[in-house]
Symmetry: C2
Subunit: 344 residues, 2 copies
């Protein structure tokens, strides 16, 4: 890219915003006014508005040594719309603010926004505002997502009931194994830059890390099949961490079964290769952006044929604790081993 | 503070959010669900939702050598609600995300949030979400504000009409002079840390920089007096820069008169002391967070008695250009000299 570098300073802040947003058309009729004014106007007659926000910081949440900017832009949107789906809502708009040091060129930001717009198109959301700024160091991304939901259809974390089924979408542990692989390859590369990264056959776990998807399909499945989960959240910090959130906020206990955990075969193979236990990866690996939700037992038949949904356990009384039942039938306490930005 | 320092790592991320939000009660009945879930739920039946976002980066937008954290928290909210008022809307909710290096203690963040909550109370907004993260360097603040407005009452930048009166609220240039003072004192302090800062008699300009207010009162005045400006924005980059935005986006020219510019006497005195032209400070100094708006001529009598509103010029044909008329009667072209984060 060195032959084709436009300095951001040649555009100025407003020029840059124009440049980055000029090809973007809004998709929702509710988006009355978008980028280009002090604020955006959104119409929501008869609907409830859902809003969520996430900050992604270079060196903390991502590593530009192996995260392509386009994928990073895509993922920045996905992690936010995932939070909207986790409310049983439909994302409609986002705002995106970024700060970056002068090591970034316009072409680099274009790449980032290409990913942003691809995700916006995929999930049907409008980019309605944002801010750009310099940073002293590193790339910083702040996204706020807005969504809508029919009145009183939103689903919280704190409303699971005793006996409810605990379900998860997709499969778990893949993103963590992708991260493990990339960190290993990065270390090898730093030690010897001539060695090419060995990612053969690892597409699945690398994709889970670098280009996750939000579970729009699951929310649409609920709608179509008249399902309203009793509680729900997305799995960003790991299953253990999230099932504890739901349990504690609902004042209940839980029981999770090892033999029910959905683990993709590629993730299982990668775990063995790295000398890791696939179950531990599925329980504690973050960033899969799957959904965990609880259902009334009578809804069991509605989900049983959906291969994208696994029944992994059920809610118990608070005094029964947070339990994990191994394949051998042993019982362990579930503890939150999830990724924690402050202990790094 | 060294005797009373709690490490953030002792709380963990969720503990920190709990800690920072535990004393905050929501104010709007529309705030159905706030901090503590994946997203917040807001009810907006029959109203239009307005959303805006701003990123503030240490070393770019603020300097912790002279910006107290409490004031910084306050200002972070103010700059966002100011954008909502600039739409002729009423702010109702904000989300606040921050990233910070390990040089910050819990007490430091408490101070910051004290300012955030003070501003939320003053402007009647609810803090409904956010994210906290580590940063590799410096303090980063991202705020998104949501507001509501009766359908079709929102005011854009692009809708001024030829002949409309150009008005500004409050006075201009004070924040820039406060910044000039603080930068001067910082330089003296770095050269000789034993010299105490000389801020005597400079409360006004220092306050304009460190603890600006948004013009809620002006929007309420409009409502009470049946005024809908034909265009409006807030003055964050400087009057020159903003009047050019309105003119260009409305396909018009403008004429601004030097003898009409509202300049506080303390700002004028400070300008003389620093050897600066008060008019240049009023035209090009940013961060006053006043409002610039245009009115139909027939609304003139509605604003003439409001001492917080100054009539500074009027809109002309595009071919008449962007003109500034000095006290001596000379005509100059207005150029945007506003603060630009990328040319620093």
């Amino acid at each position: 890219m060195e032959n084709n570098r436009t300095e951001i300073s040649t555009l100025g802040e407003f020029g840059l915003i124009d440049h980055l947003t000029k090809n973007f058309e809004t998709q929702n009729v509710s988006t009355i006014l978008s980028v280009g004014d002090d604020a955006a106007v959104i119409d929501h007659f008869g609907k409830q508005t859902v809003i969520t926000t996430d900050l992604l910081v270079e060196g903390i949440h991502f590593d530009l040594m192996y995260a392509p900017l386009k994928h990073l832009g895509y993922k920045s949107v996905v992690v936010n719309v995932s939070d909207i789906y986790a409310m049983n809502a439909t994302p409609t708009q986002i705002t995106m603010s970024i700060a970056f040091s002068n090591r970034f060129s316009v072409e680099a930001l274009d790449e980032f926004y290409e990913g942003v717009y691809a995700a916006c198109e995929k999930y049907g959301v409008d980019l309605v505002g944002g801010d750009t700024s310099s940073s002293q160091k590193g790339f910083i991304i702040s996204v706020t997502a807005i969504g809508e939901v029919a009145p009183d259809k939103f689903v919280k974390r704190s409303t699971a009931q005793k006996g409810d089924l605990i379900c998860v979408s997709g499969d778990l542990g893949g993103a963590f194994l992708g991260l493990t692989l990339m960190e290993r390859e990065k270390k090898i590369y730093i030690e010897n830059p001539k060695i090419q990264p060995d990612l053969e056959g690892e597409d699945y776990i690398v994709g889970r890390l670098l280009k996750p998807e939000a579970r729009k399909d699951i929310i649409e499945f609920f709608e179509k099949n008249d399902i309203v989960p009793t509680s729900m959240m997305d799995i960003s910090d790991g299953l253990s961490s999230e099932v504890l959130h739901i349990s504690k906020q609902s004042n209940l206990g839980c029981k999770i079964y090892e033999d029910k955990l959905p683990i993709h075969n590629d993730a299982r193979q990668a775990a063995f290769k790295f000398g890791l236990d696939p179950t531990v990866c599925a329980l504690n690996g973050g960033e899969d952006y799957e959904l965990i939700f609880t259902l009334k037992q009578e809804d069991h038949d509605k989900i049983v044929l959906n291969e994208e949904i696994s029944l992994v356990g059920y809610m118990t009384d608070a005094e029964d604790g947070y339990k994990f039942i191994s394949k051998g039938g042993n019982t362990f306490d579930i503890t939150a081993q999830g990724w924690n930005a402050f202990n790094k």
